[in-house]
Amino acid sequence: MNKEPELLAYELSRPGRIGTVLPQSDVPETPLPASLLRNELPLPEMDELTVVRHFTRLSQKNFSIDTQYYPLGSCTMKYNPKANEAAAAMHGWKHAHPLIGDVYSQGSLELMYNLQEMLAKIGGFTGVSLQPAAGAHGELAGVLMIRAYHTARGDTKRTKMLIPDSAHGTNPATSTMAGMTVETIPSDADGDVDIEALKKACDETVAGIMITNPNTLGLFEKRIREIVEIVHRAGGLVYGDGANLNAITGILRPADVGIDVMHFNLHKTFSTPHGGGGPGVGMVGAGVTLAPYLPGPIVVKKDNHYALEMPSKSIGRLKAFYGNFAVLVRAYTYVRMVGEEGLRRIAENAVLNANYVKAKLEQVYPVPYKRSCMHEFVARGDFVEGIHTLDIAKRLIDYDIHPPTIYFPLIVPEAIMIEPTETESKETLDRFIEVMLTIAQEAKTSPDLLHDAPHDTPVSRLDEVAAARNPVLCYRG
């Protein structure tokens, strides 16, 4: 069904068509300034049905949570409740304008305030800013806050961020964007931060460390308090990358182990949809030390009303207005529905599911670290000569399962990073396990099945090298 290639909008275009009727003008015409006008407007011309059919058919060429199991490590592809969408579609949110003034925006501000409070409690933080639009944006906030803190104390030599080698690429990239240099800290045999290396790196130029916990291997940094202490003692601060919070909601408040500033990806743990790339929210929380530096404005409560306010020593604005508001509505809806007990159950079941899948697969797919994992784990896909992780990933598609994250984290060769999430049933996990074991067999008995996979998709493996060598980024007719 729907296997025909889908033409591009420009190919579907015919002169004179239009996809909607616009109102006739009810005012007199005003002459246009001819010299400022463009000569042509090369946009497609389509009728409404063609647009609808085009995008409906395109959508069917996607895997998604709503259609397939999607155990994409680090991305927390858990169920996104439909109530979130109903909430975000309410007129009172959709048609609210950011500049009408606080008095006329009490609904939006109340929601943001409540969400700030809830997220602060979940993280154990003093203050929260909902402004960052994604995790990386939250990281930028955090690192700029750390920088501002040192600068405010006149401590301007601190320009080095320590970053474990297992960290997500956004961590080092963010540090650069915040004017820092990066020093990479290796992992030890257990998959944790190498404490000795950390100590060595902790000189007087250390601004701080960016630490992901659970880390990207799906392991909880056992010595997190020691790490925090070492960095603090060296005068640095600790940034927490909260992308993996799904493993520990209601189990641990990151601030309780000394994290100074942290982002949470609301588009992961808080069940807001990923939308094929975004939008997200990389809300940042901070303890007493850094809360005054949060990006702003944030919402404060004064007597019986809410107001936007800049934190006292704020690093400033990170975007226009106040954050990806409609995403906040979804996250708020979710937290209200699951509540305190639900949050804990989410973490518990996410971790249970990951350990279950790991237990079933590790005999065949080598798992480099022999510990119980958190919400995800990393295995290797190179256990048969001539077969790569990529082949296994592509073969999963033939079984109607979205491949896990692959080749990340970089420190595990041929990594396969599996995050089952708590919203998938045991039956789904069992089928995934069965398919993974079948593929492991096939890897030995019929390797070409893997090399040629996927077999039944709109396109097979694409020539990515050609794409990058001679980039075609725009329809050329």
Binding site: Y10, I18, L43, S64, L144, P172, L318, L473
Partner: protein, 441 residues
Amino acid sequence: MPFIPTTDADREEMLKTIGVKTIDELFTDIPKDVRYPRLGIGKGLSELEVLRELESMAAKNTTANSCAWFLGAGAYNHFIPSLVPQLASRGEFLTAYTPYQPEVSQGTLQAIFEYQSMAANLFGVDAVNASHYDGATALAEAVLMAYRMDENRHEILLPAKLHPEYKEVIRTYFSAFPVTIKEYTEAPLAACSHLTEHTACMVIAYPDFEGYVADLTGVADKVHEAGALCIVSTDPIMLGLFKAPGELGADIVTAEGQALGNAMNYGGPFLGMFGVKQPLIRKMPGRLVGETKDKAGRRGFVLTLSAREQHIRREKAVSNICSNQGLVMLQAAIYLETMGKNGLQAVAKLCWDKAHYAADVLSRVPGYAVQTGVFFKEFVLKTPVPAEAIADKLTRRCIVPGLPLSRYYKDRTHELLVCVTEMNTKQQIDMLAEALGEAAR
């Protein structure tokens, strides 16, 4: 809980498989003294209760669907064809991740490619990326990109009449870098006199924050002569009629794309649009989708040129951006295809005609005057009494007359930034005029 399917029986079996007795044993790596805190966020509620709570909260906002609306200033009330949200909210788009596996993501990938193509044509550039967080961050990253081309060029020229919040964002993004940000108040061509051998880039607001459109002829040449980059921050609706910045010589074009089929949503999620000319492609931030072929020769689309990005280049990446505004971009793509050439022109023309009709009518209200110049859909109205008081008075009557400029500029107490789009009827405009007249008395 409806979001956790695991039954008690499942759980027992799974624990046995894992080889532990309780779930707690899986959390022993977490320091015991702080494990299982009481959060104090309350019990979970039913969907019905939560949605009711949200409805009543949302009802506290004063919104554009129930008022005569003349407020823009960076967030715009435009018509959104019904098909836009209906198609974009399909689960296959909504609940997919970034299209890392192209074989099962051609839907998202092709939609991005079409967006890139349409946006590039709209801007008059060679490549547009798959989005930034918003118009402000897109511009900030454009300036950062210009600065990184040559770190000896540490002067940045910004128009004084750039959106005040965009300026703030740029300042935040540059807080760690030794740059000098200069604001120019002249028209862009005249402002070229500020160019020096240290200028990294000159930013042009097209239209400016107050809605006015400068003639950019010759500007880019002067900027290029000085060895700097020309960056234009624009309004995509205006480009339905006005010259494309790329055509005018801009090297980088950015815009806030919310107006393209996305609701105002109290300011987010919005759409950062970012495009460049050919020579800059490999230096630009953000995701890019490219066309290629599979083994059978079928056309397909992939994420490409990712060697610029953080997941490959880490600290050497051109930007840290990872998640972007995918779904907002998708809505913009659907919008642009629905409107197409004829529709976008028509919308722009309606904005132009209605804004000018409004300016004409309002300028006749005793005590009011409209700032002169070529404007597109926004203009500055000088008011006889403080604009903030007028806005307050009218908003209570459900006529939202615009932005009192004192909100950003303390001393501009008697100015209102009025925005008129295809959503405003003649009747609303006439009503605004009348209400303004009364408010002045």
